[in-house]
């Protein structure tokens, strides 16, 4: 972490200017308020200068309680150039969800106009001074508002005259800024909010601490600017590799709402502490139960979305209706990944692979970092180290395992490298401010970067992944995009200069935060193309932006092997999930440094619950494959990995839920318990779906852990089946064997208790259902199954069951739409075991219908691998098929 290499707000002119403005300084008023093409439109002009160039405001309403506000320069007045609007982030389907507003209503004697937003909600535009807010019509209370504090400011583009010197310098880098200052800033208030969350990516707490106002010491705003930060620290508002300008609020009284600003320029966001405006005159009486925020961006337009919630999951649904739901991953990609910088050669690969088998530890993917290439030329192999890449991949594939290779955006400027030759000939590189191919320094040395903002270039890039083009690739090879912030070692702040030019004259400053997004998109498209659209892509990216969830997984970058980084991985992963990016994880073990065996074991135990579960390490670290720390630690790590494999059916079902609803796999507690205040700032525990609560152990030699279990129902310890009361903070004993994890009473989880070499061989293995009964002796849960790899599920080739237990009877119900489609996914898999937690041993038999068979009930261990596993009520071999309808009645 080299603080001085990165700009502070104070060193960033637009941020410094914006932050120094005082409330009420915006004098814009809304005129010409009317309905145009089903949208509310208006002009914004300064009250004192009615002749000034107006801004054009457009307000549109979409289904499910989504309000979109756009403000831009007036195109009819021919500004110097069109400001950049981020393309290809809002999903095409979103347009069709627009509600055509028939009329507007006058409010407040013509001082304001309002339109219908959803049942019970309106959007209100106050004219003078201009302010926009969403109102709950039943209570009359505000939900979200913009410019209530009069901080709105929009710097319009200018033609440069001789006198203008707009250049900015930072540490020997000069930024030309040909259009002058063009920043935008405004305040947003979230009502009924106890906390705000979101705006990744940074290593800090889940609930965002205030950055300005009374009692705030470190006064840096949250920065959204994709950067490759060497050895980032674990508690900082500083922005890391990705940016999602989406904030979620939550409070006990109202619930959640959300605010998203689609803008890819550098953004800085202040969360204002209550009383921040005390010095200023308040011109509108606002309810005090709110959180004010201040948003600043260097460029772009106002294209903002207001989500009314009110349930936290509603907000996710609303947000992903705009930016898309997470992609459905392949089964292998949610299993365990083994990575290291670097597995050096084919022998190393073979050795690591066989060692897993020797110890019967499952893993699904082996990764190759940059050193596998010929001189950091991606799509090539160092043939001395990897003379037979196809054969190597086939060997892994023979055991159902995949390989991932790294492909970064920097292309080596080597005239003998086909990719460089092509890209430079076709003019596909990003250009420097004087129009030449931008030349920056990265792993290969002098490099250029494809301009993936351009769809034509994306398509060209995607073609590079075909089996013919990527020599040595096979169908079991998938891709890792690193350094796509983009990382430029000799650029300002280790990235691209802001005046570099993209397709259509777009300045890098306008698009910076989305560069990695387009690159990720192009790569994922490449894998789809390669498999003729039959094979789901898997691409891991480090940089991310709003919408990245549609293209694959992300990880939290170069973390460090220490307990603080283990701890902060949870708020980081939770925040990503909360902003749509469900498929994420941190490097297990920590990238930099050597973890003590205890830390490594704890990291595996926690990492087994990350949506993306990969161990990775820097090349200077000692080897740390699971078997290198003595037999006991090997066993513990193996156990942790086994937990993940046992829960794969549950995880896969959750990934499908995310895919359909946007609700993340791993969730903050308050998403499941929105009215339990004790959960609002808890970021050491988290929910996996709605049924599992997990808490990491973040300290050395911990003997105890305090775990808060929310809700009125009990929780069953995942390993012992012991019940713990809800709404209580429990002081639990902790052993080295596991971290605290609980199944919520009232849920049913499908497990697979047979372990294989990889998830591939588990496809037909039987299931175990674990039923955790609630206080009314009832429970339910879901199970989603498909082929785990193709897109056939989009045509209905899947199994989706709901299991309901009540009145002593377990029923399996089909949730798949009865489309009459014969593309159903066929499965012979059966249920081998049903475990009842919270059931007193009593009944000896159960009756299966429709087959009308009687089966035995006995006491059997909750988990089989544990020597002293406690016995629980178990139905032995019901052998009902998972794809079919059936009931099992417990006979008394």
């Amino acid at each position: 972490w080299k603080k001085e290499e990165f700009r502070t707000c104070h060193q960033t002119p637009f941020c410094k200017r914006a932050r120094s403005r005082i409330p009420g300084s915006s004098s814009l008023i809304a005129t010409h308020v009317t309905i145009t093409d089903g949208d509310l439109t208006a002009k914004l002009t300064p009250k004192s200068q009615p002749q000034a160039k107006p801004l054009i405001l457009t307000l549109s309403v979409h289904q499910h309680g989504i309000l979109r506000l756009k403000i831009d320069e007036d195109a009819s007045l021919s500004p110097p150039k069109k400001r950049f609007e981020v393309p290809d982030v809002v999903v095409p389907e979103f347009a069709s969800s627009k509600l055509w507003l028939p009329r507007l209503s006058e409010e407040d004697n013509g001082l304001a106009s309002s339109v219908y937003l959803s049942d019970g909600h309106s959007a209100v535009l106050r004219h003078d001074p201009f302010e926009l807010f969403v109102r709950d019509d039943n209570s009359g209370e505000r939900v979200i508002s913009l410019n209530s504090h009069g901080l709105f400011d929009f710097e319009q583009l200018q033609e440069k005259s001789e006198d203008d010197n707009w250049e900015e310098t930072f540490r020997s880098h000069t930024d030309r800024r040909p259009y002058g200052p063009q920043s935008i800033s405004f305040d947003v208030s979230l009502y009924g909010a106890d906390f705000v969350y979101g705006i990744p990516e940074r290593a800090t707490t889940l609930a965002l601490k205030p950055t300005r106002g009374p009692n705030v010491e470190e006064s840096e705003p949250y920065r959204l600017f994709n950067l490759d930060v060497f050895e980032y620290i674990h508690d900082s508002p500083f922005g890391l590799y990705g940016s999602i300008p989406f904030m979620v609020s939550h409070g006990k009284t109202r619930g959640s709402s959300g605010f998203f600003w689609l803008n890819a320029a550098e953004m800085q966001i202040d969360v204002l502490a209550p009383g921040w405006e005390a010095a200023a005159e308040s011109h509108i009486a606002l309810p005090s139960h709110r959180i004010d925020t201040f948003w600043m961006s260097e460029a772009g337009v106002v294209d903002t979305f207001f989500f009314i919630g009110p349930n936290p999951k509603d907000v996710l649904q609303q947000y992903t209706a705009v930016t898309g739901t997470p992609t459905m991953p392949q089964m292998f990609s949610i299993a365990y990944h083994q990575c290291r910088w670097n597995y050096r050669d084919e022998e190393d690969v073979e050795h690591v692979d066989s060692k897993f088998d020797e110890l019967d530890i499952p893993y699904d993917v082996l990764w190759l970092d940059i050193e596998h290439t010929n001189g950091k030329r991606y799509f090539t192999w160092d043939r001395a180290l990897f003379p037979h890449p196809e054969e190597m991949q086939k060997k892994l594939a023979g055991k159902g395992r995949r390989m991932v290779t790294i492909v970064d955006p920097h292309i080596k400027r080597d005239d003998d490298f086909y990719l460089h030759k092509e890209a430079s000939k076709k003019g596909y590189y990003v250009k420097d401010s004087s129009g030449n191919d931008f030349d920056g320094w990265c792993w290969p040395g002098s490099s250029s970067y494809p301009d993936t903002l351009n769809p034509e270039i994306r398509s060209w890039w995607a073609d590079k992944f075909s089996y013919e083009n990527y020599v040595g690739s096979t169908p079991s090879l998938y891709i890792w995009n690193d350094m796509n912030e983009p990382s430029v070692f000799n650029g300002p702040e280790v990235t691209m200069p802001r005046d570099v030019l993209h397709n259509g004259g777009v300045e890098h400053r306008e698009l910076h935060n989305a560069y990695g997004y387009y690159f990720h998109m192009a790569t994922a498209d490449g894998l789809v193309k390669r498999g003729n659209g039959n094979d789901r892509p898997f691409v891991l990216s480090r940089a991310l932006f709003a919408g990245s969830q549609r293209y694959g997984a992300v990880w939290t970058g170069d973390n460090t092997a220490d307990w603080d980084h283990l701890r902060v991985s949870i708020p980081m992963v939770l925040t990503l999930g909360l902003t749509g990016m469900s498929f994420s994880g941190a490097d297990v073990g920590g990238f930099f440094g050597n973890p003590e065996p205890e830390l490594l074991v704890r990291w595996y135990q926690l990492g087994a619950y990350y949506p993306f579960f990969r161990a990775h390490a820097h090349h200077d670290t000692k080897r740390r494959e699971p078997w290198l720390f003595g037999e006991r630690n090997t066993e513990l790590i193996k156990d942790a990995i086994h937990v993940r494999y046992a829960l794969l059916p549950y995880f896969y079902t959750l990934f499908r839920e995310a895919n359909t609803s946007g609700v993340p796999v791993v969730r903050p507690l308050w998403m499941e318990f929105p009215s339990d205040e004790a959960t609002f700032s808890n970021d050491e525990a988290f929910m996996v779906g709605s049924s599992l609560l997990v808490q990491g152990i973040y300290t050395e030699r911990a003997k105890h852990a305090s775990v808060y279990l929310p809700g009125k129902e009990s929780w069953y310890d995942l390993r012992t089946g012991t019940a713990y009361k809800g709404r209580v903070k429990h002081k639990l004993e902790v052993t080295e064997e596991s971290i605290p994890a609980f199944q919520r009473a009232g849920t049913i989880i499908a497990r697979k208790d047979r372990f294989r070499r990889s998830s591939t061989q588990m496809a037909n293995d039987p299931y175990t259902l674990v039923i955790a009964l609630n206080s009314s002796q009832a429970a339910e849960g879901e199970l989603y199954i498909d082929d785990g790899s193709s897109f056939n599920f989009l045509q209905g080739a899947y199994i989706h069951r709901r299991f309901i237990f009540s009145n002593g009877k377990l029923t399996s119900i089909d949730l798949a739409p009865a489309s009459g489609s014969n593309r159903r996914y066929p499965s012979d898999a059966f249920i081998e075991r049903i475990i009842l937690l919270g059931q007193a041993p009593g009944s000896k038999n159960a009756l299966i219908e429709p087959s009308n068979q009687k089966i035995d009930i006995e006491l059997a261990p909750l988990w089989f691998l544990r020597a002293r596993a406690p016995a629980v009520v178990t139905v032995r071999k019901p052998d009902v098929r998972v794809a079919e309808d059936w009931t099992i009645t417990f006979l008394v």
Partner: protein
């Protein structure tokens, strides 16, 4: 799914256990099950006793007979997983995968391989025996030599003592004479001086001036000391600033004048480095990938900077230099500038023979380490202290090297040859001298004195040679040559192996190194045997940036020649090499292999019997 054969997956020796009664106990005592539950594809015993033939128990074991090849136990996770694991195909019976019986072919290959191995062992066992015999003889010889040397030593000691006494007495006498002479001369001079006294006035001024000069020297020292103190107080940040400056200096190719430089020598180096850096900048490829050794000064300073928010001066860098510098944070590699530095050092390096190279190398490695250390904690004084340490170590090494090379020397030297008469000759000569020389004669007879001195010098030189030989022999015999002394022949041997561009040199009981061109990196000093003499461990090699000190494990295998067959670096700076050697061809192991072959042959499948 359930197997057709209810006893599938059970080893023959367990057959009884499963068939004896209807109720069977789980082997771990956790419970019991009945015949119907055996291989019913449902796990009843945590240890998998009830499911030897299915995948139902995660802890279970599946036995495949593999007639024609070796029988194998599989993890039950392999049963019906669609992958053929047993060559007889019995692990896959649910129809997912077709697994033909390949045991005969596989077994044949295995038998051939085993037969070859046995042949090697048979030969190797003989060689090993020879070596052990030779070692015995050689050790006896060494021991005999040692005891002889010790005897000689004691005799010679006496002689040397006598000569010494004699010499001292002569010297005393001479001293006496000298003093007498001086006294006389003094008196003479004094009288002369008295005569000249009047002319001496102006000299006093001179004296004063000298005094003043001395005084200012002291002041300078004080200033320097204060400066040191300040640096110490400020601790690492100041040093890091310096490091930053240093870096900038080097990169800028400035005059290289920097406070942080410890000595003229290093100053000189800096400038040279900078010049080289300039040249090397032309070459874009990051050289350092290859040479892991080198003192990563910049990088380790980086490391120190971590989190301190100390300004590192990157402002004056060219774009390319900046790129390289930032990249080096992740890679830990030298930037161009640094690699130039190495090259220049390597060019200067003297590389005639191993010991010299090693010394040089060690010195460099150490010096760079010292730089780090001194940047972090110490002032210049300490730095020199460290260098003293280096010297000590260096001498120690030299000593080692001398003693090992001594043997060859001694072969040519008649003096120390096995001829027993030399000592007697010496004794005789000395006796003669001592008798002849009259100690009480004054003035001392110069030729007698010279004879005594010469004889003393020669005898004490001989004594020290003998002592050094004794010490080297003792050192040698102290080593662990294995239970049967089978590693004795390793003592004066180095084994070389090539891997890509590197040559690895393993000298048991001494050290191991990696050489590329003229550069040598020490992988470790001899440490010990491990894993019941199957591994030789070399540790405390050259320091690795951001990693452990280098170390090398040499795994030993039975082979007919002493030969390094493979070297690898599985973990950063932790090397592993394979050395095949007859020393590992043990008879017991040969017997085991033969038994295994016998078993394989017994298990030949019936339909192949006629072959």
């Amino acid at each position: 799914s359930k197997p057709k054969d209810p006893f599938l997956g059970i080893a023959p020796e367990d057959d009884k256990y499963y068939r004896a009664s209807d109720v069977i106990r789980c082997k771990d005592g956790s419970g019991k099950f009945n015949q119907a539950q055996l291989n019913d594809d449902f796990c009843d015993c945590a240890d998998g006793t009830d499911e030897p033939g299915t995948s139902a128990c995660p802890g279970g074991r599946f036995f495949c007979r593999n007639a024609g090849h070796s029988p194998v136990y599989l993890f039950s996770s392999r049963v019906n997983d669609g992958i053929c694991d047993c060559c007889d195909g019995t692990d896959e019976y649910d129809g997912q995968a077709k697994c033909p019986n390949t045991c005969w072919e596989a077994g044949k290959v295995a038998r051939d391989r085993l037969e070859k191995k046995i042949a090697t062992y048979q030969e190797g066992v003989k060689l090993r025996k020879q070596e052990i015999e030779q070692a015995k003889v050689a050790i006896e010889k060494d021991e005999a030599e040692l005891s002889k040397l010790k005897k000689e030593e004691s005799v010679l000691k006496v002689i040397v003592k006598q000569l010494k006494d004699h010499k001292e007495q002569i010297e005393k006498a001479e001293e006496k004479e000298r003093l007498q002479k001086e006294k006389e001369e003094m008196q003479k001079k004094e009288s002369e001086e008295k005569a000249n006294e009047a002319k001496d006035k102006p000299d006093e001024d001179m004296g004063n001036r000298n005094e003043a000069g001395k005084h200012s020297d002291v002041e300078n020292n004080d200033v320097e000391n204060n400066h040191d103190k300040i640096e110490n107080l400020e601790g690492s940040p100041a040093d890091q600033d310096e490091a930053g400056d240093k870096l900038a200096d080097v990169l800028d190719n400035d005059d290289g004048e920097s406070d942080s430089l410890g000595s003229e020598g290093s100053l000189h180096n800096k400038v040279e480095e900078a010049n080289n850096a300039k040249e090397a900048n032309e070459e874009p490829i990051i050289k350092s990938e290859t040479n892991v050794k080198v003192d990563k000064k910049e990088s380790s300073d980086e490391n120190d900077n971590k989190g301190n928010g100390v300004t590192e001066n990157t402002e004056g860098l060219s774009r390319e230099e900046l790129g390289r510098l930032v990249a080096s944070r992740w890679t830990g590699e030298k930037t161009d500038v640094e690699s130039a530095e190495t090259d220049s050092k390597l060019d200067n390096e003297d590389h005639e023979d191993l010991p010299k190279e090693t010394k040089k190398d060690e010195y460099e490695g150490y010096a760079s380490e010292t730089d780090d250390e001194s940047n972090r904690y110490d002032d210049d004084t300490h730095k020199y202290d460290d260098e003293d340490d280096v010297d000590e170590e260096y001498q120690e090494d030299e000593h080692d090297d001398l003693s090992s090379s001594y043997k060859s020397d001694s072969d040519n030297e008649p003096d120390l040859s096995d001829n027993p008469s030399w000592l007697e000759k010496v004794q005789k000569t000395v006796r003669n001298i001592l008798q002849v020389v009259n100690l009480f004669q004054a003035p001392v007879n110069q030729s007698d004195a010279a004879r005594v001195r010469k004889e003393y010098d020669e005898s004490s030189a001989k004594l020290s040679k003998i002592q050094s030989r004794i010490s080297s022999l003792t050192q040698k015999l102290k080593h662990d040559f294995g239970p049967a002394k089978e590693f004795y022949t390793f003592y004066d041997h180095c084994f070389e192996g090539k891997e890509n561009k590197y040559t690895y040199k393993v000298c048991p009981y001494k050290q191991a190194s990696q050489e590329e061109g003229y550069s040598t990196t020490r992988l470790g000093r001899w440490d010990k045997f491990e894993d019941s003499y199957k591994v030789m461990l070399f540790s405390n090699g050259d320091k690795c940036w951001n990693g452990p000190d280098r170390s090398l494990k040499v795994k030993l295998r039975c082979g007919l020649k002493n030969e390094i067959t493979d070297v690898d670096e599985p973990s950063r700076c932790e090397y592993v090499a394979l050395l095949s050697t007859p020393a590992l061809c043990q008879e017991e192991r040969l017997k085991e292999l033969q038994q295994r072959l016998d078993l394989l042959n017994v298990e030949l499948p019936a339909n192949h019997d006629e072959l």
